[in-house]
Every structure is written in structure tokens, then in C-alpha cells.
């Protein structure tokens, strides 16, 4: 036997391939897709970009694709991908003792220098534990020595990352395009110097937007979070969210990897802009991606042309928080339709808002595949929509729906939330009323003018209070109340022609609320639940309620104390050291206005001063107005 390094690597590859051949969906782990980056050479920094959910979901995440490209554009770094192994692969890895591996080189994760996780939703946290454990890496940062990879994380959940603060070494707060490069520069410098972990972390925490949780200690009083105390003089008092000012020139995805299997968003996504000017009061994305920054239409079309050639995709999607708000939308929609539909490339508009959607555009889309239209009125009555600042009214909705029906659509999805702050039974019943009007709109049209049958899906999710929204202090309603309101709505929707109810309360929305507003004590709860088998918590079929219940009880904590508590606006918040740029005063003011039913205008109408003294520094829209060019 020849035990040279290459033979061992080959044998390992052979063993990994044998495991891959035994799972239900081998292409999740196979790698080797078209446009995958390949790098050879000694001395590269090995960066594992991990997504704590399946390949199908992770590969659909635009942000990870951008970071993959940004890192691989560096000569000193090779970024590889890794996704949470599905339960079949997890079992095989445990049974065989093989370590979790990257897709690109099948290298075990513990041989990487940096392991990064994308944190898109709280319910993926246990998968991080699975991935660390399957790589032979200790779960808690304090248990990891000098040789262990540095564990970093980025994504929207970083705005309150306290529940996993004892697991992750370094968090990235805000846009990553520039931040990861600064991180890698500092990391590379530290390694060259032979810096110890603590020294390295000290270097890193000087980078704006970097949060090193080990440099802070949490204190509690009367069972509640009281304060965070800095244990390292050099650490910043608060961590400012990073924003890429010029999105149009920022690095983007490069050539997109073309998956073999079908993934959730199997198309070319055009990120028209980042941020949103609407200010819906429940929507975290509407606050933590401010201010709005657009890409130019010419940049986007050039990118789409290029990527269609490089990937062979047959769908382009305009992707943003509220695509209809794009300043060039009425040039953009006809332009992409003209350009692409003749080549049988379909164009989808997942978040086109009803009040900005013109009939002409709808008619243009006739030749295109009628992928269902989605509208999100979020609440059933005008009173409730004013509380949440959803600037949509019934007439607009019905008019747009009618236009869509005339243009041939027959599938409509309506998204609502129940349990919003201040909601009464009348508001819940209002949802059914609205659905009835949509149905009437369809069936009152002459048969030859509309499609055969309406398919209107009413979805009602449960409100989850999120940090950095005006509703961050509001409680989630308790389980019995959720179930009662759902039953009320289900009853009211009965018999409405063409309408189907799709409600989805699960324990996971409670846990989501709990982790969204949680503090550092939740890390041990999470580890306890993980030991009891919690995995893939966002997948209903995997959710193990008992595992969580037992683990909360063991720690003397409960979901309710985080999810169902009304926090007073002068209490300390577990995430107050994170500076999301939108000021606390602004959020408080919005909170008050909500309950007075006062609507706050869209930023495009008027600056509402969300960044306090710093509006001019952070926001191009504010500045443009101040200069009179808007």
C-alpha cells in the first residue's frame, strides 16, 4: 500500500463518492456543476461558504452567490460551498465517521481556514450545529482552540445574533460585498504575522461592521436581559451596519453556477435595488436594508444577456423587495419582455406591487407564461393596513386584479398576516371580505373575457415581531389565540368561489419569534434541543416540539418569555449594541404612530428622517432631495 498524500486524498474521494451514491438526491453533494470555480495551488486561504439548509434552498440565495464570486475573485482565497446534509446523508456520515465536506474539492470542513454561515432565518440555527459537529468542530467558540477554523456568519439574522453569539466567532453586519474583502485582508495579514486567535479577533473587530461577541458579556436581572458589558477595551461600543453605497458598481455574482438538480429559484435573478422606501412596520427587511440603492437598467440588462449565454437558463426574474418601485420599471418591463420572450425566455416579477403595476405592462406579459400573480395586502381592513403602514387600498387591489384577469390570469395568491398588533376579529374577517370581492371581480366578468376558473389562494401567516422594526416591542399572540383566529377566518372563507385557504401556523413561527428577540441564554437551549434530535426546524416534517420543550424547561426558560412578552420601549434590548443605522427614536416614533393609525409616507414622497442626524450621510435619496434634484 502506498500511503502518499495523493492516494489518501483519492481514497477519501472514493469513500465520499460511495456515500453520495447511497443518498436519495446525490446531486446535492456532488459539485462539479457548470461554472463552479476551480482553483489549484498552494497557500490558498480555504473559505467554506456554508448554507445551513439544503442545496436547493442555499443555491437559490443570491447573497451567497455574490459572496462566492467576491471571494473567488481574490487571488489568495478559494471559496467552496457546503450545504446542510439532509438526514440521510447525516446518518451516513455519522455511521461511516467521514467528515462533512465541501462540494468543490470534497475537502473536510475542519481543514478550512474560515467557515462562514449565511443566516437567513432563525430556524436554521440547529443545522449550523449539525454541520459543525459533523466536521468534528466543537460547537461553542470557547471550546475551539488555535487550530480550529474561524467560524463567521453574515446575513439578516446578524441584527440580533445573540442566540448564537456563543457559537460564532465573528459576525458581519450588513452588506457583505466590501466587508468580506476587508475581513480577508485583515485575516491574511494576521496569518502572515502568525497572530494568535485573540490577536486576530482584535484586528478584526476594528473593521466597521464586524462583531466579535466574545469581547462582550451579557448580564441578566430578574430573569430578563439587563446589559452587555465590554470585556475588551478595544472592542467597539456598538457595531454599525455596513452599506454598499454604489450598488451599480458593486461586485455581483459573476458566472452563475448551473445546478444539475432543480432548485427553488432556478433562474437568473436581477436585483434591481436593495432597500425599500415603503416602511411597512412589521417588515424587518424594510428597515435593515435602508436606504434604497438601485442598479441601472443598462447594467442589469447587460448582466442578464451575459448570464443567459453563460448558463442557458430560460427564466429571468426581477428580484427586489418591491420591484414595482424601481425607478425605471416602466422602461424595464417592456424592455426585458421584448428582448427575451422572443427567445422563449420567461420573465417573472415576484414582488411587483399592486399599486405600481400598470395595465399596459400586464398586457405586454400576455405572451409570457402566466406564472401566478402574488399580492400582499397583509391585512384585511384599511384600519389594520394603516396600523402596519401598508400603503395599499382596496380599490387599487381590485382594479389591478381585474386588469390581471382581463389579461388572462386566473391564479392569484393573496398574502396576509394574522396576529398583527392591534388586530381585532373584524380585521380577521376583513381578509375573507377582501377575498370575496376578488372572487366576485373574476366571476362578474363575461366568460369569454376571462379564464375558466379562478384559483385564488389566501395565505395567512402569523405575525412575528422582529428587531429593528417599529413592532420589535410587540408580543406575538399565543397559540390558542392564533388557532382561534385561523378558525374564524377559515369559517368566513367557506363557500367563496375559487378561493382556497392556506394557513400555516406552526410551532416554528413561535420559535422564530423567540429566537428573533432572544438573548445569549438561548444558545444552550438550542444545543440541548439539537442533542434531542432537533434538525431542519423550518421543515414541518422534521420539527420536534418535545425536543425544544424539554430543552427550554431544562434551562428554566420558555418560548413565551421571548415571543409573547410585550417589551416596554424603555427596557434594554438584547440587540441594542447593534446599530442598524435607523435610529431607536425613529422606531419609537413609528411605534406610536402605528397605534394612532397615522400613515408614514413613502421615502420617495418625503424624507421621514429615519437615520436621525445622519440622513445626509447614509441616504442618497435624502441628499438628492436636499439638493433639489428629486
Amino acid at each position: 500500500m502506498n500511503f502518499s498524500a495523493s492516494t489518501t486524498a483519492e481514497e477519501r474521494l472514493e469513500r465520499i463518492n460511495a456515500l453520495i451514491s447511497r443518498v436519495e438526491k446525490p446531486t446535492r453533494y456532488m459539485g462539479g456543476e457548470l461554472n463552479m470555480r476551480v482553483k489549484q495551488g498552494e497557500g490558498l486561504f480555504r473559505f467554506a461558504l456554508c448554507f445551513p439548509d439544503t442545496y436547493e434552498i442555499g443555491m437559490s440565495h443570491l447573497g451567497s452567490r455574490i459572496i462566492y464570486n467576491v471571494l473567488n475573485n481574490r487571488e489568495d482565497t478559494y471559496a467552496e460551498r457546503c450545504y446542510a446534509p439532509w438526514v440521510d446523508m447525516e446518518a451516513l456520515l455519522r455511521e461511516s465517521g467521514e467528515k462533512l465536506f465541501s462540494l468543490e474539492t470534497k475537502r473536510p470542513l475542519d481543514e478550512f481556514h474560515v467557515i462562514a454561515f449565511s443566516l437567513l432565518y432563525e430556524m436554521c440555527y440547529t443545522n449550523i450545529l449539525t454541520m459543525l459537529e459533523l466536521s468534528g468542530i466543537p460547537l461553542r467558540s470557547c471550546e475551539r482552540g488555535e487550530d480550529a477554523p474561524l467560524i463567521v456568519a453574515g446575513g439578516p439574522c446578524v441584527c440580533n445574533s445573540e442566540p448564537i453569539a456563543e457559537i460564532v466567532d465573528v459576525f458581519f453586519f450588513g452588506d457583505g460585498e466590501e466587508l468580506v474583502n476587508e475581513f480577508m485582508d485583515a485575516y491574511a495579514e494576521g496569518r502572515r504575522r502568525g497572530a494568535k486567535k485573540r490577536e486576530l479577533l482584535l484586528d478584526l473587530c476594528a473593521i466597521p461592521g464586524v462583531y466579535v461577541p466574545a469581547f462582550y458579556r451579557a448580564e441578566y436581572e430578574n430573569g430578563q436581559f439587563a446589559r452587555l458589558i465590554k470585556t475588551e477595551e478595544a472592542a467597539p461600543d456598538c457595531i454599525e451596519r455596513r452599506i454598499v453605497r454604489d450598488l451599480d458598481r458593486a461586485e455581483f455574482t459573476g458566472d452563475l453556477i448551473v445546478p444539475y438538480m432543480s432548485i427553488v429559484h432556478d433562474r437568473i435573478a436581477l436585483e434591481l435595488f436593495r432597500g425599500c422606501t415603503r416602511g411597512c412596520r412589521f417588515c424587518q427587511a424594510g428597515f435593515i436594508y435602508r436606504p434604497i440603492r438601485e442598479r441601472r437598467m443598462s447594467t442589469l440588462i447587460e448582466y442578464a444577456d451575459e448570464q443567459l449565454k453563460r448558463t442557458g437558463h430560460d427564466e429571468v426574474s426581477l428580484f427586489s423587495l418591491s420591484s414595482g418601485d424601481y425607478s425605471e420599471i416602466h422602461e424595464m418591463v417592456p424592455a426585458v419582455l421584448d428582448r427575451y420572450t422572443k427567445n422563449r425566455i420567461s420573465v417573472s416579477f415576484p414582488s411587483l406591487r399592486i399599486d405600481s403595476f400598470l395595465k399596459d405592462d400586464l398586457e405586454k406579459m400576455q405572451g409570457v407564461r402566466k406564472t401566478g400573480l402574488t399580492f400582499a395586502p397583509e391585512a384585511g381592513t384599511q384600519r389594520m393596513r394603516d396600523i402596519i403602514n401598508k400603503g395599499v387600498n382596496e380599490d387599487d387591489l381590485l382594479r389591478t386584479v381585474k386588469d390581471a384577469f382581463e389579461a388572462g390570469w386566473q391564479g392569484v395568491k393573496l398574502y396576509f398576516m394574522i396576529g398583527l398588533p392591534g388586530e381585532t376579529d373584524e380585521d380577521v374577517l376583513g381578509i375573507a371580505e377582501l377575498a370575496r370581492k376578488v372572487s366576485r371581480e373574476f366571476y362578474s366578468m363575461p366568460k369569454d373575457k376571462r379564464g375558466k376558473g379562478l384559483r385564488c389562494t389566501v395565505s395567512a401567516s402569523t405575525f412575528v415581531p422582529k428587531p429593528f422594526t417599529p413592532f420589535q416591542w410587540e408580543p406575538q399572540i399565543d397559540v390558542d389565540e392564533v388557532l382561534r383566529r385561523q378558525a374564524l377566518l377559515r369559517q368566513a372563507l367557506k363557500g367563496i368561489r375559487g378561493v382556497e385557504f392556506n394557513c400555516h401556523f406552526s410551532e416554528t413561527s413561535r420559535l422564530e419569534a423567540c429566537f428573533a428577540r432572544g438573548d445569549r441564554r438561548l444558545a444552550e437551549v438550542m444545543i440541548g434541543a439539537y442533542r434531542r434530535g432537533a434538525r431542519f426546524d423550518s421543515w414541518d416534517e422534521h420539527f420536534k416540539k418535545e425536543a425544544w420543550d424539554e430543552s427550554f424547561a431544562e434551562r428554566g426558560l420558555s418560548v413565551d418569555m421571548f415571543a409573547n412578552r410585550r417589551i416596554s420601549t424603555d427596557e434594554p434590548l438584547a440587540w441594542q449594541h447593534m446599530d442598524a443605522l435607523v435610529t431607536l427614536d425613529y422606531l419609537k416614533k413609528e411605534h406610536e404612530r402605528a397605534f394612532e393609525g397615522i400613515v408614514t409616507p413613502d421615502c420617495r414622497e418625503k424624507c421621514n428622517g429615519c437615520f436621525g442626524q445622519k440622513c445626509a450621510t447614509h441616504c442618497g435619496m435624502h441628499s438628492a432631495r436636499a439638493e433639489g434634484s428629486l
Partner: protein, 222 residues
């Protein structure tokens, strides 16, 4: 026009399922900017069909598809452009102009040749292996086959045309197997290996490669 092409599917893509192979080719055709013809109707799709599917995990150097184009392309040009666009592991090995042949490729199939490299979990003597392999050709081969109506016992012996040991070493062996492959069905190699493991009283992992699909091209006036 219609093009019939033979292609290989090798190691790097052996886990790509049949459905995913269809998408893979469609995307490659788009990258190659072929003048594809599309079906009519609500959800137009390229007119591409495969003679048969290959089991996930198998490799092959003899798969077939046919595709309709709106404009004439020489088979050489077709091959060159598609190969430039295909990912590693998939290659067009030959292509021809189908002329006015209208039918499907599936009924043209007759048989398939497989090469199976077995790796035994514990050493197996050559005589034992050869005896077990030749026993496959004697008498019935009753296996449990999953069908829509549940599990059914069927005799797959009529589907097995040839089986022999081509290479041998203590822990490995290479078998050559020829089985029926037609529009009505074919030899299911995995079920055959199940029987072999039983008769051998030993289990083995395997790599299966389809060397050839025998086609009856006589209907094709070329």
C-alpha cells in the same frame, strides 16, 4: 429538421437523474444557441426526446436522443456546438440528420451491453463466481419487481441474453452482460445483481457501465 445523436454520460455526471439530464441538455442547447423547435401550447418546450433512461449511478457511452430544429444545421456543426457547451462528463459522440424519419427512437432499441465491475466485501474464488454467473442462464430468474400495483414476482430470465466473467482478481471481477432493452421494457440489471448476490452468498458494490445499445436502424432511410 431532426437530429439523432448518440452521447456518453460518464463519471462526473453519473448521479444526474434522467429528468435532470433533460434540463442539462436543454440548457446546453441554449448556450450553444441552437435554433430549437418548440412544442405548441400553453407551456412550450423544446422537442427533445430520449430513447431511454439510464439508471442513476450508471455510466454509459451509448445513449440516444432526437431533437427538432427550426433551421438546418449539419450534424458536424451540431456536434461541435453542443459539445462546446456541455459540462464535463457528457459528450455527443455522433449525430446524424434523421431525414424524414418521424417515429420515436424507443421502438428501435433491441438490447444493451453492460460492463459491471464488482468489488466484493470479502474475497470470492473464481470458480464460485463463474458457477454463480453461469447459473443465471439456467432456468428461471424470479425476482420481486416493484410495479404500480405493488410488488410482483416476475421471471427476468427471458430478458437476460448473455452473462460472463470477463476479468477476475480476488476482490474484484468484471462481468459482461447483455440484456433485452426495448420499448416494452428490458433487463433490470440491479435485480439481476440481487439474484447474483444471493446465489453467491456474498455481497458486492458495483460500477455499471452501458457499453452499447443495439438499435435497429433499418427503418431509417439514410
Amino acid at each position: 429538421m431532426r437530429i439523432i445523436a448518440a452521447f456518453s454520460k460518464l463519471e462526473p455526471v453519473k448521479f444526474v437523474s434522467h429528468l435532470d439530464m433533460q434540463r442539462l441538455f436543454q440548457r446546453a442547447f441554449r448556450r450553444a444557441e441552437l435554433p430549437l423547435s418548440y412544442s405548441k401550447g400553453f407551456n412550450p418546450h423544446p422537442l427533445l426526446s430520449f430513447a431511454t433512461a439510464l439508471s442513476v449511478g450508471y455510466t454509459s457511452e451509448s445513449e440516444y436522443f432526437d431533437v427538432m430544429l427550426d433551421e438546418y444545421l449539419s450534424p458536424e456543426e451540431f456536434t461541435r456546438r453542443v459539445n462546446a457547451a456541455l459540462p464535463e462528463g457528457v459528450r455527443i459522440t455522433s449525430a446524424l440528420d434523421a431525414g424524414d424519419f418521424k417515429g420515436s427512437l424507443t421502438p428501435l432499441m433491441r438490447s444493451a451491453d453492460y460492463d459491471a465491475v464488482l468489488s466484493f466485501d470479502a474475497p470470492v474464488e473464481r470458480e464460485r463466481l463463474e458457477a454463480a454467473v453461469s447459473s443465471l442462464l439456467d432456468g428461471e430468474l424470479i425476482v420481486d419487481k416493484k410495479t404500480k400495483g405493488g410488488i410482483k414476482s416476475v421471471d427476468i430470465r427471458p430478458m437476460l441474453l448473455e452473462a460472463s466473467v470477463a476479468d477476475y482478481s480476488e476482490n474484484h471481477a468484471r462481468l459482461e452482460i447483455r440484456g433485452v432493452l426495448s420499448a416494452e421494457g428490458g433487463l433490470p440489471p440491479e435485480l439481476l445483481f440481487g439474484v447474483l448476490e444471493e446465489r453467491l452468498g456474498a455481497s458486492f458494490s458495483r460500477r455499471v457501465h452501458r457499453k452499447k445499445i443495439e438499435m435497429d436502424w433499418s427503418d431509417l432511410k439514410l
